[in-house]
Subunit: 223 residues, 2 copies
DNA sequence: CATTAATTCAATTGATTTATTGAATAGTTA
DNA sequence: TAACTATTCAATAAATCAATTGAATTAATG
């Protein structure tokens, strides 16, 4: 094989991987699967797609080796093929943040409409805050996702049941809410709700997968 | 805006960035521009494309904010919009290496055909070797690229003039050749040539941009 | 073995993407 | 200002991609 043929093959193969990521629905699926395995129906519901369409996108991701499947009874669960998939997704995400003003703008506008406080702490800041025991950390994802893995010392307070946990939360301390990632709005909703109830609340910029991949302290239930 | 509308916009914008990367020619352009600025004609020649086609791809990259331009005389020079573009490219590249057996296979087959020794040292290993002063480091890219920036202590020995440097190279020490990146074949060609001439030679797995972005020691000519 | 539920396949249509060609534009130099 | 050069634009046709629909698989259960 000559030099051009070699390059055509290498860049061609890599562009197949990039093509598999180059679709809004598939990016949302990747972002979701960073939390762990989900069935086709769960993925379809979450992304607002028909089951057939979700399945089709999942086949595309599977062919590109970005996801893998495990069976459990009647269900097929999809999850990311490995940590490199998440890394590539983060690379793309940060690229979007850095140079695409439209991404920043959309996020800013959306969150402006939901709460006054646009601040968010990043992982490093939160680590410092936690060392001083100033904060209560809230995992507002589903209980299932919490059990799969959560930030050390976080309490499970799913967004749709947040009201029932209100009494147990101390008024003095800062509440920090986190969810699936920077595009997940659960933490924003939680912060809005908590601030309305008179709490001092702020969201964590990153989500659980970002925290975990940095090697920061986590815990999970034995399965 | 509702939650779905927000997500559609965010993932839609990010998929536009991914789409801009999802083409073999554009990936090769990104990989090249990691070395520094190049004109449209240089890019067209390097990628084996017509000037019009190269220009069209560059417009696509520019619209996605992945590259930016600077003028100098008659020429327009394209370069990466920032360090995040390179990071995203590396994320994709590593993803290809990790899960796409086809990429590994193509590289292995190609390099098998060119030299017996498939080994390559990585950056960390090279740093150790250099501390013991066991190696002579050769930058086999163009002299121009060397001047823009090179690994500290490397000699400029462009691949097409490598023969003229032969006498000056010590027979006892290990020669380590590096070039633009893992898909650049200059270092492979250099290693094959040097081994043929009785030298102990090996390539660096990564290219100059990978070395530089890790914060490892570099030097460059004042411009 | 038949039923059921979850998932995938196949065919269609409309929308994007790509390489090619040749013409147009915008800066530079004489 | 005219000629030149590097780059971009516009139009085309072939190829690829996405959402929809309904039918076909596949594996577990009665």
């Amino acid at each position: 094989m000559n030099k051009r043929g070699f390059k055509d093959k290498v860049y061609g193969e890599l562009s197949r991987v990039a093509k598999a990521m180059a679709n809004p629905v598939r990016l949302e699926i990747i972002d979701l699967l960073a939390q762990g395995p989900f069935s086709v129906e769960q993925i379809a519901n979450y992304t607002g797609q028909s089951v057939a369409n979700a399945s089709q996108h999942l086949q595309t991701l599977k062919n590109a080796k970005l996801v893998r499947i495990t069976r459990d009874g009647n269900f097929i669960y999809y999850s990311l093929a490995g940590v490199n998939v998440f890394n590539a997704w983060v690379g793309l995400r940060e690229l979007g943040f850095a140079y695409n003003a439209e991404v920043e703008k959309v996020m800013h506008d959306f969150r402006c409409g939901h709460r006054g406080d646009l601040n968010a702490v990043d992982a490093a800041t939160l680590m410092e805050m936690m060392e001083k025991e100033e904060v209560v950390l809230l995992d507002v994802r589903t209980e299932d996702e919490y059990n799969r893995g959560h930030i050390h010392k976080a309490l499970s307070t799913p967004i749709d049941k947040l009201g029932t946990y209100l009494k147990k939360l101390p008024k003095g301390k800062t509440l920090v809410a986190y969810c699936r990632g920077p595009f997940c709005v659960y933490a924003d909703e939680a912060v809005a709700f908590l601030q309305e109830k008179g709490h001092k609340a702020i969201r964590l910029k990153e989500g659980y997968p970002d925290w975990a991949i940095k090697g920061l302290p986590i815990r999970h239930k034995e399965s």
